[in-house]
């Protein structure tokens, strides 16, 4: 045993060996920079409950002030973009829906709009109206989770339980419409997987009568509360110039005062015919983002009501049998499946129908070669699909411009120079969904 280590020596004594451990000479290690004595690098996450998902933050601290904030992502990467290249165009829906798992219907619709643009087809009016309906329901559910986790991360746990409770009401509706609470695969290239179930309109209208009171409850619980306001005001500041330079869109950009909403400026799915406002704030901080999201819930309810009013009977899938998924779904004794009439037709009556069904299901349809970019306004901002086809039955390349991925880049700009507790408020106000960030 050597005794040359100045920090951990030992000495033989009559009682035995005695170890001496002295403190490290940190001046030697870090130099004599007075700030360096305060400098601390903290790894937050990837499993920290306040980081909004599997997100890792590397924070440089001086005392409680953040001097540097770096974001490490990729913990939820599942290779969806690559996977889609080995599936048919229709199967692609079931993959993209799992990216931003709080806004699955937006992923599906944007993907399908891109495929339809490549195909050069237009879906029936009823299908478009139902898409708008389910997207706006989904937007409310997504904002409610955004508000719920916001509350949880700020320590307002009732905000969380209330948010998830109200969201459950929306998920019940979506479950009845699509069969699933999340990851619906309801929107398909050419239209929808199935029509609305009977009696759902009454249920949505009933929900529309309950919901305003629930939103008011949020305002009573959080909006007027002094602690809530002080935690949010002037935190995570990012003005319009910063937003545009960093590519930030959605409620964050609107909280800075720019009413940039793709539903208004670049309408798709007939949004130009709906009457609704684009809520903005002028504070460019977490408080403004909170208010914008709350207001958007109300606007979405207005759109849902108008969509219900204009629902007319009609097909929900294109007529073209070379594209339209052949399954005629119906509810049987053993759950949802191909309707017995359809099974009878292909198995007992028409060989051609069977061949057609088989080819469309196994092989899929062909999409003319080319590339398109389709963007829609998801709850978090511009959700863009860059889809490339080689003329085959499978996507050649699908790239997703996920708003969470881009918005998360603003973390450093929002939190450097602030307090460590405000980093949490800033990230919560971005409302990133790691499934979308990492894809």
């Amino acid at each position: 045993m050597t005794t040359t280590d100045p920090y951990a020596g030992s000495r033989e004594t009559t009682e035995g060996r005695v170890y001496t451990v002295t403190g490290g000479d940190w001046d030697l290690t870090f130099g004599s920079d007075p700030l360096a004595e305060e400098r601390l690098v903290v790894n937050m996450g990837p499993q920290h409950p306040s980081t909004h998902g599997v997100l890792r933050l590397v924070l440089d601290l001086e005392g409680e002030t953040v001097t540097k904030a770096r974001v490490v992502i990729g913990y939820l990467h599942t290779g969806i973009e690559k996977n889609v290249e080995y599936r048919t165009w229709t199967q692609g829906t079931t993959f993209v829906t799992r990216m931003d798992y709080l806004a699955p219907l937006f992923n599906e619709t944007a993907y399908c709009l891109a495929v339809e643009k490549l195909l050069g087809i237009e879906v029936p009016e009823r299908a478009t109206t139902i898409r708008v309906l389910v997207m706006e329901l989904n937007r409310i559910a997504s904002h409610l989770v955004g508000l719920a986790t916001f509350g949880m991360e700020m320590g307002a746990l009732t905000g969380m339980t209330n948010g998830f409770r109200e969201r459950e009401l929306v998920l019940d509706l979506l479950e009845e419409i699509t069969g699933l609470r999340m990851n619906h695969a309801y929107v398909r290239p050419g239209g929808l997987a199935q029509d609305l179930p009977e009696g759902i309109e009454a249920k949505i209208r009933e929900w529309l009568t309950i919901m305003p009171e629930r939103v008011a409850g949020f305002h009573r619980l959080l909006t007027g509360q002094p602690i809530w306001q002080r935690r949010l005001r002037d935190v995570g500041y990012l003005d319009v110039t910063g937003c545009v330079a960093l590519g930030v869109t959605g409620p964050i950009l609107r909280s800075a005062g720019l009413p940039w909403d793709l539903r208004k400026v670049e309408p798709y799915c007939g949004y130009e015919t709906y009457d609704f406002e684009v809520p903005t704030a002028d504070t460019a901080d977490a408080w403004g983002r909170y208010l914008v999201r709350m207001a958007e819930v109300n606007e979405s309810m207005k759109i849902i009501e108008q969509a219900l009013d204009r629902l007319r009977p009609g097909p929900v899938m294109v007529e073209d049998k070379k594209i339209a998924w052949p399954a005629q779904l119906s509810l049987g004794a053993d759950g949802m499946g191909n309707s017995l009439d359809h099974v009878k037709h292909i198995m007992g009556q028409s060989m051609e129908a069977l061949i057609h069904h088989f080819k469309l299901v196994t092989e899929g349809f062909r999409v003319p070669a080319g590339q398109v970019y389709q963007a829609i306004e998801s709850p978090r901002g511009e959700l863009g699909f860059h889809v490339v086809s080689d003329g085959g039955t499978r996507p050649f390349r699908v790239h997703v411009r996920d708003p969470s991925f881009v918005n998360l880049q603003a973390t450093a700009a929002m939190s450097e120079g602030g307090m460590i507790a405000d980093v949490i408020a800033a990230i919560a106000s971005i409302d990133p969904v790691m499934g979308g960030v990492d894809r």
Binding site: I73, G74, H77, G79, E81, K82, Y86, K117, L118, G120, V244, A245, L246, G247, V248, T249, L258, W260, V265, E266, T362, E363, G364, A369, G370, Q371, V372, Y373, A375, E382, G384, H386, V388, D390, G391, G392, T393, R394, F396, R397, H399, R401, F405, V406, L408, Q409, D438, R439
Partner: protein, 223 residues
Amino acid sequence: MTGPFRTGAFGVTGSGDTSGFGGLVRVEPGGAVALHSTDRPYGGWFDEVADALADAVGHDVYDAAVRRVLVDRGEITWFVHREHLLVLLQALRDDDALRFELCSSVSGVDYHDSGGPTGERLHVVLHLTSMTYRRRIRLEVAVTAADPHVPSATRVYPTSDWHERECFDMFGVVFDGHPALTRILMPDDWDGHPQRKDYPLGGVPVEYHDATIPPPDERRSYR
């Protein structure tokens, strides 16, 4: 197979064509895009933007920078040489008549064996949005896998930081001038670039007679 066209259907080789589609001539990935260019007038506001861009950077630079312009499905694409990319981007962002303030997306596409005679298989695609004029355009740069260098757009559009890191991670495109070009989605010590078309895919071993489920690109399927 190289070249822009493929004949026959469904990847059938070595057996009789029972589909009746054997005479099909199909455009290879990127083939149509690589081959065609649109003649003036492009239509709509496309000409306005093209003129403004040529005025902003100078017609000599414009002619040298732009390889082709393609209008397809209501979208316009400039295929440009990488040497001039930054000049074009700066003009597109700052010129009063252009004002493409927002870089919506930077994505990579690997056209693999149809990169044309020069083998420029890796394409970097930039989608720019003008919030002032509410227009969208696309710029596309093609490079070879042996020399996958593209100038980084981060100086003009800071938002392209993570987009370019992802493109590097997935396709191995090296963005010169990027502040910290590291992997972003895959682990730091990962080998290879997973979204390249020739990236080896894994099969799944099954516990029955040492069988293996083949990787997705080797399974029997309709192409």
